[in-house]
């Protein structure tokens, strides 16, 4: 079953009087439970593609279906609800809420969903344990290392049991050992939670973790190489 179906997706950015095409007709399908990597050089359009899939940016043209629902014609409230309920995000710069501690950061999306506080805390506790940060639960992000912060971000992305987790260069700001451990963790969570993971990278070392690799260049999907 396909969790994502993209047809002829185009995305243009105006730059003064000129229009810069970031995506020039992308067709892509992603199966549920996949662990997929989008690779390509800087400026190839991989972040734009993730942003459109994740309802962070709007398509200029084409069709994007997430969980069978067309997302290109939704209003802000509906799109926000999709981000909250269907999609988890892991950012390159972790993007945790600085005034909340680890456990509060992880349970934050559940509280936005108006889940009971006790239930949210239980779920957050479980995920923090799974990402190996149980003893750091009461720490603020500023008291954690980069790798630890990214683990928190992974736990937060998983906490709502989303259909898809999108990770934009999740290891770019980490050293190679920490980056590898994060990818291991993502892969493990993919296996445990059965959540679809799509992550972008331009690091060739990352590719060995992906079950499927999509190469993007100049805003177009190239022929898929064989997965590792």
């Amino acid at each position: 079953m396909n969790i994502i179906e993209i047809r002829d997706l185009k995305k243009d950015y105006p730059l003064g009087d000129t229009i810069v095409p970031a995506l020039r007709g992308v067709d892509l399908t992603v199966a549920a439970g996949d662990f997929m990597s989008i690779i390509g050089p800087s400026g190839s359009g991989k972040t734009t593609l993730l942003n459109v899939i994740g309802c962070i940016d709007l398509a200029t043209a084409g069709s994007v279906k997430v969980g069978g629902r067309e997302i290109t014609a939704l209003d802000d409230r509906q799109i926000t609800d999709i981000r909250l309920n269907k999609i988890g995000f892991i950012f390159q710069t972790f993007n945790l809420i600085p005034v909340l501690d680890v456990i509060e950061n992880v349970e934050f999306p559940l509280l936005l969903m108006k889940r009971p506080a006790a239930e949210a805390r239980r779920r957050a506790d479980k995920l923090i344990e799974e990402v190996g940060l149980k003893e750091y639960a009461a720490h603020r992000p500023s008291e954690l290392s980069g790798g630890q912060r990214q683990r928190v971000a992974i736990a937060r992305a998983l906490v709502t049991n989303p259909d898809i987790i999108l990770a934009d260069e999740p290891t770019a700001n980490l050293d190679s050992v920490t980056g590898a451990s994060i990818l291991e963790l993502m892969r493990r969570m993919n296996e445990i939670e059965k959540t679809t993971f799509i992550f972008s990278t331009h690091d060739a070392n990352v590719l060995k973790y992906a079950r499927r690799i999509v190469r993007i260049k100049d805003g177009l999907i190239e022929k898929e190489p064989v997965a590792a």
Binding site: D76, R83, I97
Partner: protein, 504 residues
């Protein structure tokens, strides 16, 4: 809500500098708004207590022939038109349920004559029935020397402020009949000249009324020296005299004239021979020149008249029942007076008191503008600081939006931050303001300036805060908070998840 307030509170602590700036503005604004409201309330209460309840009532009836409604502090020499239809007026007033008290008065300027001086002095006279005056204004002044006149007694109550001024100009020190010099009541100048002090227990006054050349010089026995409880430097210019002597002094018809058989020669002089005298006062065709009577060279008569209402007056002071809507009462009263053909109209106290009422209004307006400006400045600074804060936190806010926070959550978080700052600092400012309003009267800050006395609402600075005044300040603070948060909320709400990524 708990999550929202938790984040808001921690953000305040995280951005201590900005929070402190906003907090200080809110504290100062709330403090000044509270004190400002206290001053406005104190002034309103002072005006009500001292001017309305203590001197002239809420409404003053003046003749339709009167050019200006300002009858109290009018220019020296401009006389107040007479009212000869009090019987009709009284009937109208008695039928108005919103009217609590009314008092007909005479009010005009008189020349104070002194055989030792070529230059006459001047005094404002208010002619009243002393017994009725006390019912209307029971405690507006204290008799510091002598006594309060009995009903119908011919007498003059001289204000101590005017006494001091008279001494300075004419070297005469008034004391009540049969009274003695009270050293502690002497002015500094009088005390310095105590050995050569000329003391008098009566004042000869000649009424001044434009268009009348028939006024009489009347010797008024000084019955008492009075001191007004507040605004003594303004009210202290007005001498209270019995209404009959006042009428004689001004050449008006007295009640005695009306009660007595008018001699034939006087009727001839008046041109009333053969006419119905009653119709003169009741008829609609009454004209101003008709009230004058011939010169009789009257000196203060010893006749005691129990009912003085039949003669001429210049105004009627009216107090309204508590809770009555002022504008409605004024409109209803004017309608009733007009329908009854009384020849008078109702003027608000603020107009009748001339510059005093205008100054009270100007000061009140100035204070209101000051508080409003303060309000606007506070809003602008807070809006600017919060907007900058929203833009600086675009990455964090965008990330919240990315993980599913709606615009309303972000806006609510900003409102929460502003509300917490308002509650803590603004609340502190209000409490400090209340404390200041309570403490200021204890210092008994006085002023020699008459107009500042109006601002003070009395002889000393006496701001006042009622529960409604405090609630008004809380409401103003609430409005400041909401208005100040609106634009930053919008800015923060419009931050997109893309902003979080693009600013990384």
């Amino acid at each position: 809500m708990k999550l929202l307030l938790t984040i808001a509170w921690r953000n305040i602590l995280r951005h201590k500098g900005k929070s402190l700036v906003i907090g200080i503005i809110l504290f100062t604004g709330a403090f000044l708004m509270t004190v400002g409201n206290g001053v406005i309330s104190g002034m309103a209460a002072g005006v009500e207590k001292n001017i309305i309840n203590g001197f002239m009532g809420d409404i003053v009836l003046v003749s339709d022939a009167q050019k200006s409604d300002n009858i109290l502090l009018n220019m020296m020499g401009s006389s107040i038109e007479p009212i000869n239809s009090y019987k009709k007026i009284k009937e109208v007033l008695a039928a108005q349920p919103y009217v609590r008290h009314y008092l007909p008065v005479g009010k005009n300027l008189a020349m104070v004559l002194d055989e030792n001086s070529d230059t006459p002095g001047f005094a404002y006279l208010i002619g009243v029935d002393f017994a009725e005056y006390r019912k209307m204004f029971p405690d507006n002044f204290t008799v510091i020397e002598g006594s309060y006149p009995a009903r119908g007694e011919r007498a003059l109550l001289f204000p101590d402020f005017a006494r001091g001024e008279f001494f300075n100009y004419y070297n005469i020190w008034f004391v009540p009949e049969g009274g003695r010099l009270v050293k502690e009541n002497l002015s500094k100048e009088a005390l310095a000249a105590i050995n050569t002090l000329q003391v008098s227990s009566s004042a000869v006054m000649l009424g001044m009324s434009s268009g009348i050349n028939t006024t009489s010089d009347i010797r008024f026995p000084v019955r008492g020296i009075i001191r007004y409880g507040a605004l003594n430097k303004i009210f202290g210019h007005f001498c209270l005299v019995d209404i009959e002597s006042y009428r004689e002094c001004l050449g008006y018809f007295t009640a005695a004239d009306m009660a007595a058989q008018v001699p034939k020669e006087e009727k001839q002089l008046l041109g009333l021979e053969g006419s119905d005298l009653d119709s003169l006062f009741g008829g609609d065709s009454m004209i101003v020149s008709g009230y004058k009577k011939a010169p009789l060279k009257i000196k203060a008569k010893k006749i005691v008249i129990s009912n003085t209402e039949d003669g001429t007056y210049n105004a009627v002071f009216i107090k309204l029942n508590p809770g009555v809507t002022y504008k409605d009462a004024l409109a209803k009263l004017n309608k009733a007076l007009s329908e009854a053909g009384t020849g008078v109209h109702a003027a608000p106290w603020s107009k009748a008191s001339g510059p005093m009422g205008s100054m009270a209004l100007i000061i009140k307006s100035a204070l209101f503008i000051f508080v409003t400006l303060l309000f606007c400045v506070a809003v602008i600074i807070i809006v600017n600081t919060l907007t900058m804060s929203a833009l600086e936190r675009a990455s964090e806010l965008g990330m919240m939006r990315a993980v599913g926070a709606h615009k309303t959550f972000i806006a609510g978080m900003f409102l929460g931050e502003t509300a917490i700052l308002s509650s803590v600092f603004g609340g502190g400012g209000i409490l400090a303001g209340i404390l200041a309003v309570r403490l200021i009267p204890l210092f008994r800050i006085t002023t020699a300036n008459d107009m500042l006395q109006i601002l003070y609402g009395g002889n000393y600075f006496n701001p006042l805060l009622s529960l409604s005044g405090v609630l008004l300040t809380v409401f103003q603070l609430l409005v400041v908070t909401v208005i100040a948060a609106l634009y930053p909320m919008r800015v923060a709400g419009n931050i997109t998840p893309l902003d979080a990524i693009s600013r990384d």
